[in-house]
């Protein structure tokens, strides 16, 4: 084996300098009591995907800034936020990339996040195009009712994994009820149109009843886990 006189330490034959003090090693016999393997060379995982996303990130930022500046400079002649037509989809593409493609969350969480983000975008479009309340009155309730119908069916297709999605379904119920209540308590929806609010509340209550009817124990345990103080 190789030996360092300064550190009184032995190394395997392939070493030539002492790791501790840096001095050269000399050959010396030693009866080793242990089997050593050394350590593999460091492999840093270089991600091509990260590089590509950085390139697209710079492109997106450049386009966004250029369009925003031109829109700002020409706003007095053309008082519309036309740049949002391009900037909006670019931003949404990045949201989809982060929330759906890259994210390792389960599908129910991804669906809920998309519903929430899409709802906010729809409200923004409604606000920017002279608020007529079509977003909160029709589009968002329709989106929520559809999601409340389809998502539990997908979850129910794998009953053993139901417990993983309880919190997502519960979040959906809260969203249903919150959007439904907005129709009755705020002036943000079209006057006289209550059936959409009622349907979304009904969908939420039905989903809650279904969860407690078909999976009472699992649902209750999950709610205890989440809300335990």
């Amino acid at each position: 084996m190789q030996y360092c006189k300064k550190c009184h330490a032995y190394y395997y034959k392939k070493e030539s300098t002492c790791t501790i003090c840096g001095r050269p090693l000399v050959q010396q016999d030693y009866d080793s009591q242990v089997i050593t393997q050394g350590y593999p060379s460091v492999h840093l995982h270089k991600s091509h995907a990260k590089f590509v996303s950085k390139v697209f990130g710079i492109f997106s930022m450049a386009i966004t800034i250029i369009l925003a500046v031109i829109n700002f400079a020409t706003y007095t002649e053309n008082p519309t936020l036309w740049s949002l037509i391009i900037i909006g989809p670019i931003a949404y593409a990045w949201i989809i990339l982060a929330q759906i493609i890259v994210s390792k969350h389960n599908y129910a969480t991804k669906v809920n996040r998309q519903v929430l983000i899409f709802s906010l975008i729809i409200i923004l479009i409604d606000v920017l195009t002279v608020y007529r309340a079509w977003s909160l009155t029709y589009v968002i309730p329709a989106l929520l009712v559809t999601t409340t119908l389809i998502l539990p069916i997908v979850v129910a297709s794998k009953p053993t994994l139901y417990y993983l999605h309880v919190r997502s379904l519960f979040f959906l119920i809260i969203l249903d009820i919150a959007v439904g209540i907005i129709g009755f308590t705020t002036p943000f929806m079209q006057e006289g149109v209550v059936w959409t609010s009622l349907s979304v509340i009904t969908a939420g209550i039905l989903l809650l009843s279904t969860m407690f009817t078909f999976a009472r124990k699992d649902t209750w345990i999950e709610l205890i886990k989440i809300f335990r103080i």
Binding site: K6, H8, C18, T19, I20, Y30, I35, Y39, T160, K225
Partner: protein
Amino acid sequence: MAKLRKFYDLDNAAKIFPVVANESRSYMFRVSVIFKEPIKLDILQDALNRTTKRFKHMNVRIRKGLFWYYFEENLKTPIIRQEDGMINQFLVFRENNDFLFRTLYFKERLSVEFFHALTDGKGALEFINSLAYEYLTLDGKTIDPEGLVIRADAAATYQEVEDEFQKLYHDRKLPKVKEEKAHRVEGTFYANNYNAVINAYVSLTKIKSVAKEYGVTINELMIGMIILALKKSGKLKSYKNLARIFIPVNMRQYYPSVTLRNFASYVRINYDLNLDEMNLEHILNYVKDEMKKQLNLDDMVNMIITNVRYEQNKLLRMTPLSIKIIAMRSVYGKIGNKLNTFDTSNLGLVKLPKDMAKHISHYSFMIVPNDYTPKAMSFVSFGDTMTISFISKIIERDFEIEFFELLKQLDVVSQIEANGWEV
């Protein structure tokens, strides 16, 4: 037999780790068992699946509730990877099938890196011993466990997942203890949060005889040598703060418990590096006296009670987790690791059944330092081999040079195994 619960709270010690762990302080530690033959991957995977199912506190994923983190059963299969040269790196649970431990292999070495929220050194050792036993048995070896190893087909008990900290808690008035800031070892940090490691394999018999000569325990001998090596490698004219050596203490030696979760307290040996003392014997006498004072059961229990008291506070309990996280990170950033100069940990002597010991060469145990405490040392013994592991986040190795100089003066020969310090 009562069915084990499928979810439970994090124990008191574990609650901080998911909040403050990041790339530069991963709160992972590695326990390795080195066999005498190269590892067979397919057998190891089978053994890992069985052993993980048996150890309920390991077979978990961590989830966020509205007020607290909690563990629940993990239905996925643990992954085995080949070592990639990085040690105790930050663990992204989602990339590890949601498991909070990482299993690695390299030639004859089987390593498991544990996130500290799961377990402490003792719990980790039980797991890896059981895994090694299962692996050897599946490989055709006949081993009588002799009651020293938990078998994968043995029934689990709820005592193994008990939170012993809660049992120690009772309401009483406690003296306020002011913690002092520790002297910080400075240096040039490696890139990419790399942890450089030197394992020194020394004769346990020799170390024991040296310790006996000085009238101290092995632990005290190591602490004394650390202090002297810090003094000699410090090279500062004066030190503003004390050198504070952090030593975890296994509470199972005071409160018999079979829990496999965290159940440890800690002590700190404080030393004024401005003192002129360069004699190892005098420093060891100082360490011996300090350990006697610090290893006071009442004080250690008081520390546990103080920590548990925070989580018993009604206002804190009702605070949403997201606010708790912000507050805990902020407090930890200000105080946290600034209380230690050097971290140590001693896993003790590993005892295995005779039939199993003949297939194993040695063990190694590595904790992880952090940005404020860039150097750490850990020890574990098996048979007549004591493995002293030096882990460093900084390139400078003045401390290690002085430590080995001391080992040479004590006529302790070592065999070295290291990863790349020149990366």
